[in-house]
């Protein structure tokens, strides 16, 4: 750190270049660049979803229970996990390694709850008959327009791809945080902070997936229940 402190003296201004133009370590800068590229992956997927949705007869099948209740509770889990992660990073910055580990374990707990709830929600849809390239037969009947246009089976493809990729990010994040929690005594504060950046990013992606995939596909009239 003392080298970095000396490097500060070479950095005249924000755009003066020098050794540390961003005043963050190279690993933290690397995580920020990874987050930028991963944001573009999700943006492209959501853009593809928007394109398909606007050019097709799109079914809106999600009932209040289980889909919306589950996804709202899942959102609560992720937001709370972000809060516990912030507490963990804050404890780590004070040098309180035991506290940091405790908060990171709480974060993993919320992350795993998210995955379990999401798998239950997936299971509801799969047992109804939703597949990546097929809709359940009663959905097709209900959502076919008066002039005979059937709903597109791409609903399942976009749903499972986007939520599946997000779930994969949550799962790998939980493993990442597990490693950080196990080795927190040996790691620097910056390493804990970097794992926090990744975790908040996973939360942030869900803030777009939840309204676009769930809220905009609510079965408002209860057509499927009839």
């Amino acid at each position: 750190m003392s080298t970095e402190a000396r490097a500060e003296t070479f950095t005249a201004a924000d755009w003066g270049g020098g050794v540390l133009p961003y005043r963050v370590g190279h690993r933290k800068l690397g995580m920020w660049l990874f987050i930028v590229s991963d944001s573009l992956t999700f943006s492209a997927l959501l853009m593809g979803y928007a394109y398909l949705r606007a050019s097709n007869n799109w079914p809106t099948p999600f009932p209040f229970y289980p889909s919306i209740v589950f996804s709202t509770v899942m959102t609560f889990c992720l937001l709370s996990s972000s809060l516990t992660m912030v507490f963990g990073v804050s404890a780590s910055s004070r040098g309180d390694k035991a506290g940091a580990r405790k908060w990171i374990l709480a974060t993993i707990f919320f992350g795993v709850s998210f995955i379990v709830l999401h798998l239950i929600e997936w299971n509801h849809l799969i047992s109804e008959g939703l597949r990546p390239f097929f809709l359940p037969e009663h959905w097709v009947k209900v959502f076919t327009t008066p002039d005979g246009i059937p709903p597109t089976p791409l609903f399942g493809a976009t749903f499972f791809t986007i939520t599946g990729l997000h779930m994969f990010h949550v799962a790998s994040g939980a493993v990442y945080l597990g490693v950080i929690a196990a080795r927190v005594k040996k790691l620097k504060h910056e390493d804990v902070e970097i794992s926090g950046l990744y975790w908040h990013f996973v939360d942030l992606v869900w803030m777009f997936v939840f309204p676009l995939i769930y809220i905009l596909s609510v079965d408002v009239g209860g057509h499927l229940a009839k």
């Binding site: 853009m47 928007a50 804050s90 910055s93 246009i149 902070e193 942030l204 803030m207 809220i215």
Partner: protein, 117 residues
């Protein structure tokens, strides 16, 4: 490893809890709006607006970007926003392909007149 004054994680727990409550309230508004009879393009605009506010709160406070150097913010944020906006270049094409896909539903196929071979 001594304590580093400039590494101290800015922001109090009270601040983070209030951000968390704001995020929950905005999520609640989204779920509430889901059951209101709003035309889809207004709904999309409102939901995206709320999501961008939520994302900004997470990035600024939880991801700590508000407390980083301006040069990092200006390196990461504008290029990401520009790239995402560029993705919208493709979007109007979806209306064209919807027209291609469904036009024949209005006019039945003409080949019913052709004799069977």
């Amino acid at each position: 490893m001594s304590a580093h004054a400039d590494e101290h994680f800015a922001g109090s727990n009270k601040l983070f809890i209030s951000i968390w409550i704001w995020l929950l309230v905005l999520t609640g508004i989204e779920v509430f709006l889901a059951y209101k009879p709003i035309p889809i393009h207004f709904m999309l605009t409102i939901l995206m607006g709320l999501s961008i506010i939520k994302a900004a709160l997470i990035i600024a406070y939880f991801m700590h970007l508000k407390f980083e150097r301006l040069s990092l913010v200006l390196t990461v944020v504008p290029m990401l926003v520009t790239c995402i906006c560029l993705l919208f270049v493709f979007f109007p094409d979806s209306f064209r392909s919807a027209g291609l896909r469904y036009k024949f539903k209005e006019q039945p196929p003409v080949q019913t007149e052709t004799p069977e071979p």
